[in-house]
Amino acid sequence: MDKFSISDIRTAINQMVQITWKELRTIFKDSGVLLILIIAGLGYPILYSTVYLSESVDEIPVGIIDECGNSFSRGFASKIDATREVSLVGCVNMDDAISKMKSRSIHGIIVIPKSFSKDIEGGKQTTVSLYVNMATFFIYKNIALACNYVMLEENKNISLKRLSADGLTEQEALASAEPLRNKMNILFNEGNGFASFFVPGVLVLVIHQLLFLGIGMVSGTRREERANSQVNTKEKVSQREVFRHIFGQGAAYFLIYSLIGSYILILVPRMFGLPHFASAWDIYRLLFPFLLAVIFFSQTCAVFIRNRETGMVMFLFFSVILLFLSGLTWPVSSFPAFWKYFSYIFPATFGVEGYLKINCMGADFSVIMPEFIALWAQAIFYFITASFSYRYINK
């Protein structure tokens, strides 16, 4: 063993611990940074989960105009009313329904035509009209779902009745009315809940954005103070020391966010009944490279942030962009190639994907190997770029 190298490592570790300690003190002495990193880190996930606490959208008021008005059409209407999603509101005529729609006391209109029962009895096809408005996605989706379901059931029943009337046995009638049974199964997010779909992805984005804004604030402040101070505090640093600084400062954020991150990704889903299939160990395995990638990425971007506050002005809107880039709303399969590759820049893309797969879809950790590797690659890449960034800032 070379004695020299051991003492060298010891100095390096000592220096790094000192840098970490100094960074932690900077963070905890700064109320603005504390607000972003800790208070928002603790509060924001709760706020988001509370917004969508109701999970599902049931009993949406939908207007019904029953022009046919006999027991047959009323039966059809009552079946729609009986669905979990829709609750019918009687409307006298179209004008009445439209005015109710305009005041948003109903969100859709169903019109059963005058010839409804006559058509069906006469063997003609009848058309029920559904008017919906796509202004609120979840309402639109659930109304369409409920009506479709009732229509299919009703069609089957009508066919059965007709065939039985033709003298077929029940079994024969069934085989003729519905030769193939189809069964629609939901895999993952079986309850069709909005929170279970939306909030888990947002939780990962919250970690990404708060760390990014927090680190940007600290490094912006540091640059600002240096620019304002008369004495030149810049010192020549060796490459080794650059690495020590990045590691040392990064470790401070890593320490804080391994705690807050586990609160957000492990505890919050359990508190609010969101999906939580992954074991804590699997989540830590993902969180580790994710935090490294986010921290080094943020340290790299510090090069753009000259003032304490500019980071927030410049990058706040990016939270919305990242939500879309993560593929949570718009499917990645429909991304133009440019935006797909663009999304690979951000750790959030892989963080959200990986987290959703193991925690919401119950995937084995081996399934998210691509994301895991991508996050490590980002961590290494951004570590290198962070050192350039550090050198530029301290030039």
């Binding site: 005041s103 919906v132 369409a144 193939l180 279970s196 927030m312 399969s333």
Partner: protein, 394 residues
């Protein structure tokens, strides 16, 4: 009369001063124009398909019969979904769903054809995911159609064999159909639905943050005495002169959006398009007022900015475009009223989209106007901060 001239003169002085500030650093151009232009390009190009096309799905064919092969051909002919891969088993397909490669799959069981012919009514299961709501729902809708087509196909063959006249077959297969009219979005385009609110949401976010920044930065740099001096000592003049240039730029950007979206791209509206001009102007004004409120409440740039940021990001969730506010828990329904974007959304949906007339939205317009008065609550506090320069050094 003289005083009035004086006021205009003061405002002009402050505006000229602001012009110099704005041209001194790129962040002002960035936060007013570049971000919003980028977002517009981003959303339009990302979602140019309107409705996602060719959502990747899977097929598990355990039968490999005439019937299952016909079904696969029918799936291949659909616009909405595309067979990404064929799988040998349910487990393989489910695994690929977890990998995010497909959003749904259909499984043809063994002996499908034989059992169908023998009237045993085999079950054809379809699996789709709600973990990704938009593509999952699209996969569901397309598979449902396939299932119906398939059933109808089998029955049609039987009926033809029995000599049922062709004209009677369709009504008999599907006695009731539902004709869905998607009001103001006949193509059920997700891009129209999303861009209509998300872009104004980002506009509002930028305005709030820039308002806080531009005033807070002066407090921080201790240049507010100069600002008040140029404004003739009046805080109202100072704020009007300072924010008017931003307001005009944002108004220009906002109106370009309205013209682009509702005139050039033709996002459908049943109501008059000029409503959107009023609506976006009110949103811009209300956002400025909210920004002012934040910097007045916390006359320290970093605190105001942090608070304003946390507030403005959540506005997009609170406006009710994806999840209806009416279904949130009551405290959240009240909380939603604290966001100008919520009122913007309601005015847009009710008046512009559904042509409800002013009668149904006056309450929302009033709600929007309440925001305009927020700055008056903090004027005194803000002026004190501007004069006393008690900005914390750290």
């Amino acid at each position: 009369m003289k005083k009035n001239n004086n006021m205009l003169g003061c405002i002009l002085n402050v505006m000229l001063r602001e012009r110099d500030i704005m041209s001194s650093r790129p962040i002002y151009l960035y936060g007013t124009v570049l971000v919003l232009a980028f977002c517009a390009i981003f959303f339009v190009s990302l979602m140019y398909q309107g409705l996602p096309q060719r959502v990747p799905v899977g097929v598990v064919d355990n039968d490999d019969s005439y019937l299952s092969r016909t079904a696969i051909k029918q799936i291949e002919a659909m616009q909405g979904i595309e067979i990404a891969r064929r799988y040998n088993s349910y487990h393989e397909a489910r695994l690929d769903m977890q990998r995010g490669k497909i959003y749904g799959f259909i499984e043809f069981p063994q002996d499908l054809y034989v059992n169908t012919v023998n009237g045993l009514r085999p079950t054809v299961p379809v699996y789709y995911t709600e973990a990704y709501m938009i593509p999952g729902t699209l996969a569901y809708r397309n598979f449902l159609q396939i299932a119906n087509v398939l059933n109808a196909g089998v029955r049609r063959t039987t009926m033809r064999a029995k000599g049922v006249p062709e004209a009677d077959i369709m009504p008999s297969l599907q006695p009731i159909t539902i004709d869905t009219h998607s009001i103001c979005n006949p193509w059920t385009s997700y891009s129209i639905y999303l861009i209509s609110i998300i872009w104004p949401g980002i506009l509002s976010l930028c305005i709030i943050v820039m308002t806080v920044f531009t005033i807070g930065f002066e407090l921080k740099q201790k240049t507010t005495p100069d600002l008040l001096d140029k404004a003739g000592g009046s805080i109202v003049n100072a704020l009007i002169g300072k924010l008017l240039p931003y307001f005009l730029i944002y108004l220009l950007v906002g109106l370009s959006f309205v013209i682009l979206a509702y005139k050039i791209f033709g996002f459908p509206l049943l109501g008059p398009a000029w409503v959107m001009i009023i609506n976006i102007t009110m949103l811009i004004l209300a956002s400025h007022a909210v920004g002012l409120f934040f910097i007045g409440l916390f006359p320290v740039l970093r605190d105001a900015l942090s608070a304003a940021s946390l507030y403005s990001v959540i506005a997009l969730s609170m406006c009710g475009m994806t999840f209806p506010v009416e279904m949130m828990i009551p405290p959240m329904q009240g909380f939603a009223q604290l966001f100008p974007l919520r009122q913007y959304y309601l005015i847009y949906v009710k008046w512009a989209m559904l042509d409800s007339g002013v009668g149904n939205v006056w309450i929302n317009m009033l709600g929007m106007c309440i925001f305009f008065f927020l700055p008056f609550l903090i004027l005194k506090r803000l002026k004190e901060a501007m004069v006393n320069l008690n900005y914390p050094t750290k």
